[in-house]
Symmetry: C2
Amino acid sequence: MFPFEHIISIDKEKKLPVYRQIAISIINAIRNGNLKAGMPLPGTRELAKTLGVHRKTVIAAYEELNSQDWILIVPRKQVRVSEHIPTLKPQKWHAQNSSVSYENSFDLPLHISKKDSSQRELTVLPEVFIDDGHPDIRLSPVDELLKIYRSYTSRSFTIKKSVVGTTQGTLKLREELSRYLSVTRGLNISADNLLVTHGAQMSIYLAAQLLLQPGDIIISGKPGYPIANSAFEKTKASVIEVPVDENGLDIHVLEKICKKKKITAVYLIPHHHYPTTVTLSVERRMKLLELSNQYSFAIIEDDYDYDYHYSSSPYLPLASGTHKGNIIYIGSFSKILGSSLRIGFMVAPKNFIQEALILRKAIDVGGDGYMQNALAELIRSGDLGRYLKKAKKCYHQRRDYLNILLQQHLRSYISFTLPDGGLAVWIQLKSPYSVNTLKTHSQLQIKRIDEEENAFRLGFASMNEKELEDAVLLIKKILTNIYSK
Amino acid sequence: MFPFEHIISIDKEKKLPVYRQIAISIINAIRNGNLKAGMPLPGTRELAKTLGVHRKTVIAAYEELNSQDWILIVPRKQVRVSEHIPTLKPQKWHAQNSSVSYENSFDLPLHISKKDSSQRELTVLPEVFIDDGHPDIRLSPVDELLKIYRSYTSRSFTIKKSVVGTTQGTLKLREELSRYLSVTRGLNISADNLLVTHGAQMSIYLAAQLLLQPGDIIISGKPGYPIANSAFEKTKASVIEVPVDENGLDIHVLEKICKKKKITAVYLIPHHHYPTTVTLSVERRMKLLELSNQYSFAIIEDDYDYDYHYSSSPYLPLASGTHKGNIIYIGSFSKILGSSLRIGFMVAPKNFIQEALILRKAIDVGGDGYMQNALAELIRSGDLGRYLKKAKKCYHQRRDYLNILLQQHLRSYISFTLPDGGLAVWIQLKSPYSVNTLKTHSQLQIKRIDEEENAFRLGFASMNEKELEDAVLLIKKILTNIYSK
């Protein structure tokens, strides 16, 4: 007799009903060829006895298998494996257990770029976590947003509208957004110039895919934003890094490159460059625009941090000036609402947006229409603006408090320039102190550490005074302990 | 005197403060070369008079310009354009208005595939909108989900956790999900085998990018799911379409192709194939697995509609059987929670997930950690299961009611096979009736119409009995009116 007790594994602790466990085991045995087409199966009474289960359980399993055409039940006669199962070579017994399948490695070729950084994701939070410039979600109007969201999903007449326009972004949000960007950034655009995305990174990725092809050259700052660079590398374009000094991207180096090579695009973070927080000077902005016209390259202007300025107003985006339409302007609400609420945008000429839209659909169909309309409402009502004003004041204070803490406790270990705006400070360690000591400490996790620059980013906005103190004192403790030995 | 009144445009109706309008106008004039480096500007009193504004407004504008280094204010002497502005050729007057920039077309080369369908997005909803198989969000537990969501965002100690693990998906969700998929689909996997995405489409896109390169061949069903095909086309792989009959993808045609050509992957919708709603037979499932081993191709198993079966249990996924690990299993919660809540997943061997993770980060960093944890909680508490049971009962009734309506009103116009599960019926029009007549009617919008097959998809789940009646009667009215003429 066929050893059904070996083929069928039952685990009564599992959530999966026993009858389905039996059915799955039999399917697997058929699939791997141990049970062949036409082969008779034991009667329900017999199998129940063999397995030590109730007969009804076996009946349920057989019915399931029958309804799925795996077996054939001839009433009052016999149960057998369906005739239409192709005969396969039996596999080794240990291969029967279906749990092994995904313990295998995927063994067909994968097309991945070699440069991928394999930075591990955080899975456990240490005592002190220093992000690279997040807002404080405790201050963010998430609650207001969700309140509006719920009012939409509970009204049945708006229900169907959730399917409308979710690839480009709802018209309501795009219209509010075009007004908002006009008021805050001097951008004169219409809803047609906007694509709503899941965040700045998706806008960067889309722009990269549309602009670049293998062998093209894109310019990026050094030190720079690695995740943007990884999006460029996916296109197999070459990323040429241009130094970023205290006035931003070094435009003279860029000009020299332009004279020698065809540049397709320049990726630019005009405010609070990531990671060093410098802002591109007016002179360089103008020169960059001039070069863009002269050498016909596109500019990807990633203005992720525009909203936070503490002393003067921010510079207007390059995109707000007079240009030929070859500037892709990118922004996001993650720095206002928190990074969990994934809404960003791309501003570009209409023909560019249309192509980005087609690509975006292939990547992920679209966003959450309710959330987009809730955000639109938050902008329209002025709540977002009021919140931003409050948050700016708070982050201003936190920046200044951090300044005091750094002067007081870490002056001999570090050097830094307090930025005019943004949510983080770029801190360089003085010799002989090394950021590596901060990297390996169990109580501390710093999101952005740069070994080459011996520096790290201290996101201050998400921490209140107590948390800032804790962070600074922990850093001091680590540095003192190690170097006093 | 320089014609400042022509350069500076003020619109008091605008939300933008007048002083910023003045500042922007002057910046634009400097940028386009009308105001040159070192050129003197009028005193505040004089300019205020010229423009008809209060002197304080001009002072504010000048201070703004000064703080941004556009101009130089020599106290009690003079205001002039900064010396460090490169001299540019003046542009024509009409080019000054910054509003024109994005009215230009983007005129650098774009890398787009020619096959892109330019299907327009809906912007206005007609009286009757027939989707291609959406759940009814009026029944969905969105409210419960948002309640949990809000409880997370209001608890300050969980705040920082929103940054943890958002690229792969939070550990909490991946652990719940691996249990859930084991119980519902017989998949024996761990959290490491899971990547949480924005939806099935993103999983398809990621798999395509990792598996395919230019010139590779991927097999897809015909008629098929155009958005998946567009993701494949983005890789410049060739999509070879294999006919789908009443038993699903024609495996014999596939085998013939395998004998002649190297196939890299097969894209499969095993349950309720889109659009025709057929389910792949057991025999073909086994044959497909055999071919996959023999010819070493990957299978992308898009089981978007697994959850809805009305008569028997669904077939277990191919992925749940014994295999070498070369099956990428894809699913989504959009068909349960509504398409606005964008959470989907990909199941694959760990090494594949790790590569997908790196690519996913470049595309869009990650998802909403709070929402993911709220969903995990909904699964853990059993609420999701209970909801699904209720929804299934309701959709079963709607399917049967639609069946009656179709038999009663449209029998002579259409033919269809009532599917065992899923959220839509595939309806073919009998000659001489043409789906084109349904395409152009102002009161009706059908999401998925297939001219070649003279058929369309009628998503019944999102409509209650009244709405189903309205839809069927409107279709009848349109067909009768046109063909009785």
